[in-house]
């Protein structure tokens, strides 16, 4: 396990974000929790597609925690473990749907160097998604990428993969605020 560079707050609130090292910055932590809540509740694409974006990001960033998590809302929306396992190097030839493959391609475009969308991908995205849905997927990617890179940079991450575990979205969007 890598060394943690910042310790979490002493008080426990039941929210995994607030109870992590991010809780050391009260002026941002409630906005981060709020962002997670809005991404899962108000995005313009479904939770299964969001989970595909999240898992693709987790794989690229190599956030061991994020890779192990499966959110309950995404499973209820149809993201089976079999599908989750298809989000790998061979995803283009997998049984994932065209929309799911395009979501992964968008994630790769965002995560790449240089970041950017090719002409072909832009045309395919425009055929399959509305501009508002593309913006919505980018907001979700921003949220997932920012939190996973924060987790990796703060340290304390196991080096070996963890077993897959289902987590309720409420764990990152709920809980009582510190001092409440």
């Amino acid at each position: 396990m890598s060394r943690a560079r910042a310790s979490p707050p002493a008080a426990r609130t039941g929210n995994v974000i607030r109870d992590s090292a991010l809780g050391r910055v009260p002026e941002t932590v409630e906005e981060i929790i709020g962002l997670n809540r809005h991404v899962w509740a108000d995005s313009l694409v479904g939770p299964a597609l969001l989970e595909i974006l999240r898992l693709r990001n987790a794989r690229t960033v190599n956030c061991v925690y994020c890779r192990a998590v499966r959110y309950d809302v995404a499973r209820r929306d149809g993201l089976t473990e079999q599908k989750a396992q298809m989000i790998d190097d061979e995803y283009r030839s997998s049984a994932l749907s065209e929309r799911e493959k395009l979501a992964i391609a968008l994630a790769d475009a965002y995560l790449g160097f240089p970041a950017g969308v090719s002409r072909d991908l832009a045309a395919q995205l425009a055929r399959e998604f509305s501009p508002a849905q593309i913006a919505s997927m980018l907001v979700a990617l921003l949220a997932f990428n920012f939190t996973s890179r924060t987790a990796v940079a703060v340290g304390g991450m196991p080096e070996e993969p963890l077993p897959v575990v289902e987590v309720s979205v409420a764990a990152v969007t709920g809980g009582s605020s510190a001092g409440a």
Partner: protein
């Protein structure tokens, strides 16, 4: 019309609704806090812009901060990649800018010495805030670039 960059990204994401508004609020906190000087955070944005080789991002002006001659000189040094040897930068500034470069390469590549250098000047909470800020700013540059490409195609 201003180029689509991290500076004006929120207006282009707003069609995504509540999540976009929430994201904009979170990012707005970066420029109105006391953990790190705003002009230093702006230099982090320019460092990331240089590393992304994004000329439009490098040219963008952050309207959240008042312009100043001192900032202009430091801005040039960061964009030219000479901040490490420029006397206009303190050791505390350099610790933050070096951390920024490591973060950009790969969050896994950050070594303990780089993190400890930031913590020495800004404390543990300052380090966590810097990590959050870099993740948000770098993500904004990436998202702006994606949307810029998509918009260019739509307009062609």
């Amino acid at each position: 019309m201003a180029a689509l960059t991290s500076v004006n990204l929120d207006e282009h994401l707003s069609k995504a609704g509540l999540a976009a508004r929430s994201f904009a609020r979170l990012c707005g906190t970066l420029w109105h806090q006391e953990r790190l000087p705003g002009d230093l955070l702006e230099l982090c944005r320019l460092t990331l812009a240089r590393l992304h080789a994004d000329s439009q991002e490098m040219a963008a002006l952050n309207t959240e901060l008042p312009p100043s001659p001192a900032t202009a000189q430091r801005r040039r040094a960061v964009l030219e990649g000479t901040a490490g040897s420029d006397p206009a930068f303190s050791a505390a500034d350099r610790a933050v800018l070096e951390f920024t470069e490591l973060f950009w390469m790969d969050a896994q590549s950050i070594d303990d010495a780089a993190a400890e250098a930031v913590t020495a000047y800004h404390g543990e909470a300052g380090l966590v805030f810097l990590i959050e800020a870099l993740g948000l700013i770098d993500g904004r540059i990436r998202a702006a670039r994606c949307l810029r490409d998509i918009a260019a195609l739509a307009g062609s």
